[in-house]
């Protein structure tokens, strides 16, 4: 799960990680009120959306006066912000973060992520702050510091020193930096983060270390023990169909093709998308109904696929293991009767109770195309959408 920068900074504050003075605003008037309280100009107005590259897209600007805050907040609030992470459709900005402008002497990069290969927590830091870290890693890998921490032992003072000296920090900033780093690690572990990134972390003219930006993502599997984080969820930032699907425990991701598909199991679902593409069509979604799907889930899956107007045909691919084919077939029949399926449907079933499942489908009187195997299924559905 992702959260906004202003929410990330609320968590930073809780862990005594220095951040610029500022507050979130939902209107121009609010933005002006916040700016006035900061006690001096310039201030920074930052669009709050769940995507990076906001500055380049025109979503982060300096304002030198109360009047300028009104103009800039007016431009950013309500704008459709397009960045390399939003895709061409962009994202509507509904809130801005207004912060004090700071005298920046140095910009650093700092992040913490889990390293899946070594099962450790890795701290990544670089003197090349404020830039795209992937580009830094590719062009100048020597500028990247990595320190791996065994989660059973936790962060030690020497880990912090390794990073601090690696960044060539001035002697008076070593202590504030190492203190910040160990608090950041605590936040990462306490909240089951999947990413914690400060880019840039700045050193000011008077040697203060401050998190100018903040990005925090959480491990979805751990949200059950972080109810306070769930309050940060912003449904405006999510695809409405994906939100709808998540309410029924369906794993749905919207894509831009025209062949809807419903599959049990994530690996088979990905492979089904691939085979649709190889047959010359294009998948409209990823939908894993899971191993424990019931008729109601199948019905909702259908409804959600059909509410995507690009869908010209549907492929159902079920390998019955835990999910029995007869249950799936009943769900399909129910869904077809209730929602009235308006596009051609190809069904491919195999596995547990497949004979019973096929009987239910063939006796339903519905206009369904059955496929003998996966290759056959993909070709049939591709032929239909090409029409």
């Amino acid at each position: 799960m992702k959260i906004h920068e202003y929410q990330a900074k609320e968590l930073f504050k809780k862990y005594n990680i220095p951040i610029p003075e500022g507050s979130v605003a939902f209107s121009v008037a609010e933005a002006q009120t916040v700016a006035e309280k900061l006690g001096g100009y310039p201030v920074v107005v930052k669009a709050q959306i769940h995507a990076g590259g906001r500055g380049k897209g025109g979503g982060v600007k300096l304002a030198g006066s109360r009047e300028e805050v009104a103009v800039i907040a007016g431009q950013i609030l309500g704008m459709n912000l397009i960045t390399h992470q939003t895709g061409p459709e962009g994202r509507l900005v509904k809130k801005v973060l207004v912060e004090q402008g700071l005298n920046i002497k140095k910009e650093l990069y700092l992040s913490i992520i889990p390293d899946r290969g070594t099962a450790t927590v890795v701290i990544i830091a670089s003197e090349a702050g404020g830039m795209d870290i992937e580009a830094v890693a590719e062009k100048t890998p020597e500028k990247i510091i990595k320190v791996y921490i065994n989660p059973l032992v936790g962060i030690q003072a020497y880990h912090c020193r390794e990073v601090a000296y690696g960044l060539n920090l001035a002697p008076e900033t070593i202590r504030p930096f190492t203190a910040l780093l160990s608090r950041l690690y605590a936040l990462f572990v306490d909240y089951d983060c999947s990413l914690l990134e400060i880019n840039p972390l700045i050193i000011t003219a008077d040697q203060a270390v401050i998190a100018l930006d903040g990005k925090v993502n959480f491990d979805d599997s751990a949200l059950f023990r972080h109810k306070d984080v769930m309050a940060y969820r912003d449904l405006d930032e999510e695809n409405p169909l994906e939100v709808d699907a998540s309410n029924f425990n369906l794993n749905y991701i919207a894509l831009d093709g025209n062949v809807g598909n419903m599959v049990n199991g994530a690996g088979l679902a990905m492979a089904t998308m691939d085979i649709i593409k190889q047959a010359g069509a294009s998948p409209a979604n990823f939908l894993d109904v899971g191993g424990g799907a019931n008729a109601e889930m199948v019905e909702n899956g259908f409804r959600i696929i059909l509410s995507d107007k690009n869908v010209k045909g549907i492929l159902i691919n079920i390998f019955g293991g835990i999910l029995r084919c007869d249950i799936l077939a009943e769900g399909v029949v129910q869904a077809a009767r209730k929602t009235g399926i308006t596009v051609p449907v190809v069904v491919r079933m195999e596995g547990t109770n497949v004979e019973e499942g096929r009987r239910i489908l063939s006796e339903s009187g519905l206009n369904l195309t059955t496929a003998v195997d996966l290759k056959d299924a993909a070709q049939k559905v591709a032929a239909i959408v090409k029409g």
Binding site: D219, N251, G265, G267, F286, G351, A378
Partner: protein, 291 residues
Amino acid sequence: MSIFVNKNTRLLVQGITGKEGQFHTRQCVAYGTKVVAGVTPGKAGQKMDDVPVFHTVKDAVKATGANCSMIFVPPPFAADAIMEAADAGVEMIVAITEGIPVMDMMRVKNFLAGKTSRLIGPNCPGIITPGECKIGIMPGVIHKPGGPIGVVSRSGTLTYEVVHQLTCQGIGQTTCIGIGGDPVNGTNFIDCLDAFQKDSETTGIVMVGEIGGTAEEEAAEFIKQHVTKPVIGFIAGLTAPPGRRMGHAGAIISGSSGTGQGKIAAMKACGITVCENLGTLGELCASVFGK
């Protein structure tokens, strides 16, 4: 022969009295697996069908000589269950549970370092040596006993698809293992490839990967160095968009890392026959492995 589990494996089930635990324990028993014990804290003295239930794994091992555990414990308690089994000296731990927090699994992985237990999973269908024993949730009937092909996969139903296609071609399996779809897991591709290479009955290997991480690339390098048996590889998720978690917690492309195209290129460069279209996997296996 087979790898990791066989007809002598003595299975205990952690979470045996839950709905999933009960259902799948019965399926395993029906397949012929020797299920000797169950563990549910607070329910010692009870029986699930004919299987005695114990409070702790230590008690169960002591009373029954169980040497393998299958875990159906819900995600918040699953890491604890894995560590309990390892501490009780269980040799083989198969964690079916999906949705264990990454931080929990990182702790488990470090806890297991230096211990003798092997962990398979989590978030996996389990392991089956067809005709001998089934430890997991896969449909037993699609498998064909007697070998000679070993199957290792990060997926569940995709593995069933692969096995089904092998069986339809008349090709049997020695052992089929799902190593799980989570970013941090126990046994990896290399462990399985190494075991299949050393297993005298296995003459070829099918390796099923997916986007995310670098496990397939590392496995490909291992195959080049150490595996002399023919390997067929498949990668799911070529059409997946970057940055999105595709169902499996581990299936996510981060930046330029973890792409399907990169994995396929790495596998080809290491001499692995890559199946580019899942619909034709069975035929490809028949031509490469013979019948």
